[in-house]
Symmetry: C2
Subunit: 167 residues, 2 copies
């Protein structure tokens, strides 16, 4: 019989590392839940749609290769195929063939899609301000950005896929 199994388990489950990663996930999920509601109510966009439209809007020519967009959004290829299907039926996105690689497809913003995201962003910026920036001091905000950039670069180095036009 081990001597103090309960105490061992407790110290194990209260480890600082667990706390830190828990805080990161709870912060991100809590924020995501708030954004989801605001976006849905204010613009009729899900956060998934918002992210796709935003990433397209920031890309040269307002378009990206399917594979690059999939990498940026952390969707699988099949998941993205269907997401773009839905956005296309709403008229917010349009597929276009890639002239230099006939396997490839672009997903590009339509005028309607660009309009939609440009309308949605200001309210979302306010939302970020209220829920994430406001509770922090300016110094804390700067620290958080610097630290998170380090973490992001470490765990997710390919998040800029498609930045350089390749077609």
């Amino acid at each position: 019989m081990s001597v103090t199994p309960a105490t061992d388990a407790e110290t194990l489950l209260d480890d600082d590392r667990l706390t830190l990663s828990g805080l990161l996930f709870e912060s991100a999920q809590g924020l995501a839940a708030r954004f989801e509601h605001s976006l849905r109510d204010g613009t009729g966009l899900s956060s998934q749609w918002f992210e796709i439209l935003l990433r397209l809007a920031r890309s040269p020519g307002q378009r990206l290769r399917m594979a690059d967009l999939a990498a940026q959004t952390r969707l699988t290829a099949s998941g993205l195929t269907r997401a773009i299907d839905r956005l296309e039926t709403q008229g917010l996105v349009m597929r276009a063939a890639c002239p230099s690689d006939r396997r490839g497809m672009f997903a590009g913003l339509t005028a309607s899609g660009l309009n939609r995201i440009l309308i949605a962003v200001p309210a979302h910026l306010d939302d970020i301000g209220t829920n994430l920036v406001a509770p922090l001091t300016e110094r804390e905000r700067a620290q958080l950005e610097r630290i998170l950039r380090k973490v992001r670069d470490h765990v997710s180095p390919d998040s800029a896929a498609g930045s350089e036009p390749d077609c």
Copy 2:
């Protein structure tokens, strides 16, 4: 016709707030993806199952009311019902009636479930160390924890539901 629509859109889409929240989400998602793979390979647990078992293990009596567990995991009541169904068929969790409120149910760890999570945690702690703690200095780690705690408390104040035994 507006004067410089393209420039306006660019400054709008490059706003610092968008960058900051993007960094937070990309960090959390990148980390989650790494944990998902390690957990699955090392212990056969999904991160969903890991989180549920962990939260139960940390609770008094290794059990929680369904509603409290749902709040902690950010699942809806129906989502949690089915998650617990699956864990129960695996023998890791057991439901128990609440004597003081006949509507209520407890979800509690079985011996097998407790064993499983105690085996899984050490490897997961290493994983957090490698992917989140290691790239930061000790000072940065402390700053991050302090700042995230502020954010978490602001956006997700009910994340400790069920801490006080109420039954």
